[in-house]
């Protein structure tokens, strides 16, 4: 484990640290460029600046090489799993994953049965959430294979930091992370079925709209809304201002499966494109990420990922899952009930830090109520050991304060998986909290991967 202090030197006073003077300038610049996310509170949309802390997470090159290897292995296995589930289903037949975990989960889409997407890639962009425990071990907390967001923030902040505090980067051998747009463009072009590449946004009032528009600008893809696209003669077209139709071959869609096509999924969707799913099935357009990926990133399926790695790749998993229990199995249910206070329980249907409860933080009544629910719906929950993951200092009012922080690594899949040499480090602003999500007040840091 290496920290910012190790490479930039420890100072007695915060004011003497190199990052101190740069922090205000960087935050001012982030405001200037509108680095925001949207949030709904009391049914009202508000844009908020994403709080940024100048002290980076630092990962040395050996440690990152290990992470890179493990992440590639995991994403390869997850892609093979999705292909198998919508194809031969060998992993079910061989009883590695019980079928109820597939078919009862909301991520499984029967409409995707038998579909092989362009170049066989399902999860083009995977956001893998990790934490590092105090003994240095990395644990995977969650796989996000639907529409993982967050890469744009460290990408834009790096350029700003380098302008605001150039000395911070001199002689430190930090990998340049501003290549994310190139990696993404390559990923999109690789599967493009012929025509333009577009980024499909639900619109300005989506929480991640900044990211949609910024990635469009930086990749040179065209940012579009559903009503600007039309399916005709089995192909997808963008209609320009003069009524001319331009063929589209790849859609990096930032809207969820259910809203993608009212003819195949939620018929009330007004942001989707009628019949896009039909031409996707015929191989005439690439959808990035593939619909139906939710079958592999369900919190219940997470438990089985190490088994998938062994099953599909014949390898031992390089990266660990957090120790996880499935109350669905009697043995695990017993363990969960015996050790309730030491565990964190997660509702498999929830995301964004919601539906997460800590056994030791419940009152007696809450606990009784929860256990009754757990017994009634054991498939709905997973339980995990609470990992006391490392704190990273943040700078607040001239003081250094330790806060919990996770890492979202981005793995892009084209010919081979590519791991972005950076990531989104999110931290909790609340000293007593493990929840780092931006929707719950968390902030972000840059992630420095050292090249030597």
């Amino acid at each position: 484990m290496i920290s910012y202090m190790d490479i930039c030197g420890k100072r007695d006073r915060v004011e003497d640290m190199e990052i101190y003077t740069g922090a205000d300038v960087v935050n001012e610049q982030l405001a200037r460029y509108g680095v925001k996310f949207g949030i709904y509170k009391n049914n009202e949309f508000k844009e908020q600046l994403f709080p940024f802390d100048m002290i980076p997470r630092v990962i040395d090159n050996k440690e990152f090489a290990y992470l890179e290897k493990g992440l590639k292995q995991r994403v390869k296995a997850l892609n093979l799993f999705i292909a198998d589930i919508y194809g031969e289903k060998k992993i079910i037949k061989d009883k590695i994953v019980p079928e109820e975990f597939i078919y009862a989960g909301s991520g499984y889409l029967p409409q995707c049965e038998g579909i092989v997407p362009s170049k066989g890639v399902y999860s083009h962009i995977s956001g893998i959430d990790l934490v590092q425990s105090k003994d240095g071990t990395w644990y995977i907390l969650e796989d996000n294979l639907r529409i993982p967001s967050g890469a744009s923030y460290p990408m834009i902040v790096r350029g700003i930091e380098r302008r605001s505090a150039p000395s911070l980067f001199t002689g430190k051998h930090i990998e340049d992370n501003r290549n994310y747009a190139d990696m993404l463009r390559h990923t999109m072009d690789y599967v493009n079925c012929g025509g333009h590449t577009v980024i499909l946004t639900p619109g300005r009032y989506n929480a991640a709209y900044f990211e949609h528009s910024y990635l469009a600008e930086k990749t040179g893809a065209h940012l579009v809304s559903g009503h600007e696209l039309i399916v005709e003669n089995d192909h997808l077209y963008f209609i320009d201002y003069s009524g001319r139709k331009e063929r589209v071959g790849a859609v990096y869609r930032r809207i969820s499966d259910e809203y993608l096509d009212p003819m195949s999924f939620n018929e009330e969707s007004v942001i989707g494109i009628p019949h896009i799913f039909d031409i996707y099935r015929k191989g005439n357009v690439a959808l990035i990420n593939a619909p139906g990926n939710g079958v592999a990133d369900d919190k219940g399926i997470y438990y089985f990922v190490p088994k998938m790695i062994k099953y599909y790749l014949g390898e031992e998993p390089i990266l660990n899952n957090a120790p996880t229990y499935l109350p669905y199995y009697d043995e695990d249910m017993k363990y969960v009930l015996d050790n309730f206070d030491n565990l964190v329980l997660k509702d498999v249907a929830e995301a964004g830090g919601y539906g997460v409860v800590f056994g030791n933080k419940m009152s007696k009544e809450e606990k009784e109520k929860f256990i009754a629910m757990l017994k009634a719906e054991p498939r709905r929950f997973i339980a995990q050991e609470v990992i006391d993951f490392i704190d990273i200092d943040i700078m607040e009012k001239g003081q250094l304060l330790p806060r919990k922080a996770d890492l979202r690594a981005f793995v892009l899949m084209a010919e081979e998986p590519m791991v972005w040499k950076s990531g989104l480090t999110r931290f909790s602003r609340n000293p007593d909290s493990f929840i780092v999500n931006s929707s719950q007040g968390g902030g972000f840091k840059d992630t420095w991967v050292l090249s030597q």
Binding site: Y209, S213, E228, F238, Y241
Partner: protein
Amino acid sequence: MGIISVENTDRLYWLGRYTERVYSTIKVFADKFDSMIDMDELEYDKFCKSQDIPNIYKSKEDFCQRYCFSLKDENSIFSNLMRAYDNAIVLREEIGSESLSYIQLALYAMNQAAISSAPLIGLQKVTDNIAAFWGMADDDIDESQIRNIIRVGKLIERIDLYARLREDPRKLQREARRLTNRIDKSEIRYSLKKLAHVNYLVQLDEMPYETLIEAIERLVGDES
């Protein structure tokens, strides 16, 4: 990539119009403000009439505050700046982050001006940022069509505003000339007949301001 949707064409046009509206009304407001300090306290009433907006203001202080800074007043400068922002924020890919940042900065400057003891100085920063936005857009945007649509929006708004303020006909003739030179390059839908009519009106000895306002407002979006 060189393709623009109808919706974004419209947004670019309105971005041009609203940025011009904010820029010009701040300039006009600054003149009126000066006059209201110690010459004509009711100057704002004439201003409202010229702009065809209801005089809902109780005093010059109320006018200065609400007309500039109230988002509840749909005619306020701030409301118009928000409309410019609402159009700009969905055009990042067309105009680029650098150009967009000046609209964002104008918004911050407006918030600061609202709490400043010298609002005119604060508003100057708003116009500075809008001018910087136009400069950056001209310099930084590759697609000439995008630059031209913004410019057409600006020129139409300017002619409209000048006519409402009963400005010198020579100023109107100049802006009409600029618009005529620019509008085809924008590839925006407009009526040739109505453009000819605008050019005819600005040449008349007795400038028919009301007719001109009507003609310029109907120019775009109609190809008849």
